[in-house]
Symmetry: C2
Subunit: 541 residues, 2 copies
């Protein structure tokens, strides 16, 4: 066997896919490149590396070692970027805390992750102080003063900048297994406790490599060397889509906006010449409004939009302003990126720009994505047949932390179940239609509730509408519309008008026609303001 | 400890970095994309996948299993691409045979690698038949007829297309360890037997991921989705720089030119609209000559040039023809890619296009590259100080097969020694100056022999020149020029004229001035026609 000859040289370097290596190329080629925090801090990649060493030394002084969970509660900042590197590079685990959660849930996630050290911006100190009596595992709090004139009332284990200044810039980072955990954070569903996902060094490095490039062609909204990067998805949320790691790998200029304030964002876009960002649709709308007020030029700003659907209207509005906008798709469980929108699919493909760039997009490198029916058989790649998106990729969470049952359900049959319903075209273009639990399964067809709701909402007689499936002996489920009327009480026929038209156009299955409508005064909502379809189904069954 | 919670779901898919996964995204998004072989074969990625299955089934029928070495002797073709996937995907090892080697050396590499099956184009059958009596390990030869009217005189175990046609398209590929060996091939030095390098699945997948993208920005010569790919570096040579794997990962159209014939290359460039290729400088020169004869338009053809230095003249000639050309750097031992030339380095950098795009370039993602002196200390990143390039990356050969001493030397001190002498700038730009064994170490300075040779060759009195270092008690070494005169016998002073000018300009160390010149009738050469500096040094010492 020839393999016996292939004896590794004893000194051959066995390169682990650890996060520290994402700095290698940048420190060689971009050591003088800038990292900017609002209008307050300018530093270089060389400085970043020194501060990573100091942060690690300071945390080691607080008892942080391999496996220790260090929680971060900060706005988007150069400090967060330092934590993205220093904490995993120590072999510790970075918990990115969703600071928008209700206080009680923040407490739950800190306890559940067994965080021992919390690095906390002064803005979140009141919440953290209130929680501390319930956080027995927390041994130290590092306070971020963020340049305020007065120190925070709570001193904790010290102030972030003071601790860094006193710490040794040379920390003896060691190599370790690339499968060591690097990050954790908690997803929030509409019901139940937040669920923790976690990612290893290897997973983050591979996602950064796969994200780099696949959308870096000249005709598509992209991100590459020469760009100036500013995240507009919070850094606590799925590693800001892993793009701070990609930006560092590319050695591009990075701009961190702190707390999201539309004025500051528009000012940084102009003064720092930001060319690439990513955000959810509502942030983009906020930027449009602020840009109108401030007269900010948005020409040439490329944005990836995720989190919720990118509407045609929002895309067109961006185009009118000279922006280059494309959708991306993923979720907390997937690190997050699974697909990126692009024009060129490699196959004959006549989609218009808006049709190509607003849906979820095409799987990126190493994403094995299927759209399957309930028997896990692939649906036809015809852009019409619907099924659940299931995936394999090297960067998916292996579990929900401490929740074996949910983990089993997530990975049922060896594929990660996204619970998103989609179509897929012959050129791999994925269009998300609905959440699996909201899709109506009737007569063997999957009918997205969102599509019926959009059609019904187009009627002037309708103020608000929700459509849910209710059990039916013959058809499995049948769609029922619950309507808040704008005027009078629209009839079943009226409500069915746009649906019938869609059926006649061939856009919808004939099983979509409604045989029941309920008129109500108001729709039930969850604590975060979403329509509570669970309550509706309960009410109608 | 939080880690105890992070129990992998039992069904969670542990995604190995195996070569088969490079097909995943392409088969979803580019199943109808074309793969073309000369003017003879057109097929799709879907067909490719079916033929990969058939090839694996056929090889299994010949006894190929995990660890079996299958040697490929073919011109650049769709068949070679099939072998790039099918053989490693079976867990077997693909040996890409350098068909340009002397027959005896081909035999040596087949024996040394313990190849059991050889897939051989009819053009190479006479050589293989002559070798067969010495190849006891070879149990089967698959003959490639390549569409010829007459079958080859040697039948072997069957003809490639006939075997595929008879084989099951569904081969039961199984997952295995990503560290399994995937490929092997042999490098040729100027002396000694060829040395075997080898690469695992993980290494090839990571190199493909890292290669994808870093040069895919709008201003630099790049390769991305929408391009049409044609290799012009033989597929036997370091996986054609891994770019057939990258092309497949991207799902782009691929064109394989068979035996390199300038007419066919120019015709394919035109008819298939080729936009991206890579080659050595001599192939580019051959294309220029052929394009002039055929009137081929080269506008918009992007090329990466490696193997030897890309001269300013060649780059300018490409620019004049509307091409986009940039250098790349690597070697057989490194998979090969280490650096790619680009304009934008991320740092303030005033290099002109030709100065930015002709040298080796900037390290790509995950390449940790140093330029060091003999004590392994980094030289200054000033673009002037010289040292040896040493590297770490996840895709470097772990050894020379069956050669512990050379392996130890290659990986001395935990860094792979390239034996190339280079400078590096503050923005990470690497400029290769010389081979380590040819550089002249005198008075503590490293003086590249190539630079002295260029200067001396500019004299009208000089027909040919070689400069070597000879031992010197006081200075370590001293440069000696060996000159074939064009007219008369140029004096030491004459030879020193351009060197003195360069010293005065500050381009060369004062230690570079010669104190000895030898005039000869002819320079000694090796069997492949290179100047034999080893013989010169022996002659002068």
């Amino acid at each position: 066997m020839p393999l016996r000859f292939a004896t590794r040289a004893s000194e051959a370097y066995d390169f682990p896919l650890t996060i520290g290596h994402l700095l290698d190329a940048a420190l060689t080629s971009a050591a003088d490149q800038e990292i900017v925090y609002r209008d307050r801090v300018r530093m270089t990649y060389r400085d970043l590396r020194v501060r990573i060493g100091r942060l690690a030394s300071a945390l080691a002084g607080l008892g942080v070692g391999q496996g220790t969970v260090v929680a971060m509660m900060d706005w988007d900042s150069h400090r967060y970027l330092e934590a993205y590197f220093a904490i995993p590079m120590m072999g510790a685990v970075l918990q990115t805390v969703n600071v928008r959660l209700p206080i009680a849930q923040i407490g739950y996630t800190l306890r559940h992750a067994e965080a021992e050290v919390v690095i906390c911006h002064r803005d979140f100190l009141p919440a953290l102080e209130a929680l501390l009596p319930t956080l027995e595992g927390v041994t130290a709090v590092v306070v971020i003063d963020d340049g305020a004139d007065e120190p925070a009332s709570f001193a904790g284990a010290g102030e972030y900048e003071a601790l860094l200044a006193a710490a040794d810039p040379v920390f003896p980072f060691v190599e370790f297994d690339e499968n060591a955990l690097a990050t954790t954070f908690y997803t929030t569903g509409t019901t139940g406790d937040p669920k923790g996902v976690c990612f290893s060094h290897r997973q983050i490095v591979l996602l950064a490599l796969a994200t780099k490039g696949p959308f870096g062609t000249t005709r598509d909204p992209g991100f590459g060397i020469g760009d100036v990067y500013m995240p507009l998805t919070p850094m606590f949320h799925v590693h800001a889509w892993c793009l701070p790691y990609v930006a560092t790998l590319l050695g591009v200029k990075q701009v961190y906006p702190g707390r999201y304030e539309a004025d500051m964002i528009c000012r940084l876009r102009t003064t720092e010449h930001v060319t690439y960002s990513h955000c959810v649709p509502t942030v983009l709308q906020m930027i449009f409004a602020a840009a109108d007020k401030a007269g900010t030029d948005l020409v040439g700003w490329t944005m990836t939009i995720g989190g919720s659907a990118l509407t045609h209207a929002l895309w067109e509005e961006g185009k009118r302003r000279g922006m280059s906008i494309g959708a991306g798709y993923g979720m907390s469980e997937t690190g997050p990126t699974l697909t990126m929108a692009r024009r060129n699919t490699g196959s004959a493909d006549a989609a218009s720009d808006v049709d190509a760039l607003t849906p979820a997009g095409i799987p990126i490198a190493l994403v094995s994505l299927r759209v399957v029916d309930e028997a896990m058989c692939d649906v036809s790649h015809d852009g019409v047949s619907r099924g659940e998106v299931v995936v394999r990729a090297p960067w998916l969470t292996p579990c929900y932390i401490g929740n074996a049952e949910a983990s089993r359900e997530l990975w049922r049959g060896g594929w990660m179940h996204t619970q998103d319903v989609a179509t897929i075209s012959s050129s791999g273009r994925v269009v998300i239609c609905d959440r699996l639990k909201d899709v109506i399964k009737t007569g063997g067809e999957w009918i997205p509730s969102l599509e019926l709701e959009d059609l019904i909402a187009s009627l002037p007689e309708v103020a608000e509408v929700a459509v849910v499936g209710v059990p039916d002996k013959r058809w499995g489920e049948r769609p029922v519309a619950v309507v808040v009327a704008a005027v009078g009480a629209p009839s079943l026929d009226t409500i069915n008008t746009p649906i019938t038209a869609a059926i006649e156009r061939g856009d919808l299955s004939r099983y979509a026609r409604l045989d029941r409508v309920e008129i109500v005064d108001a729709l039930p909502r969850t604590s975060v303001g979403k329509i509570d379809k669970k309550a509706l189904r309960f009410m109608l069954t």
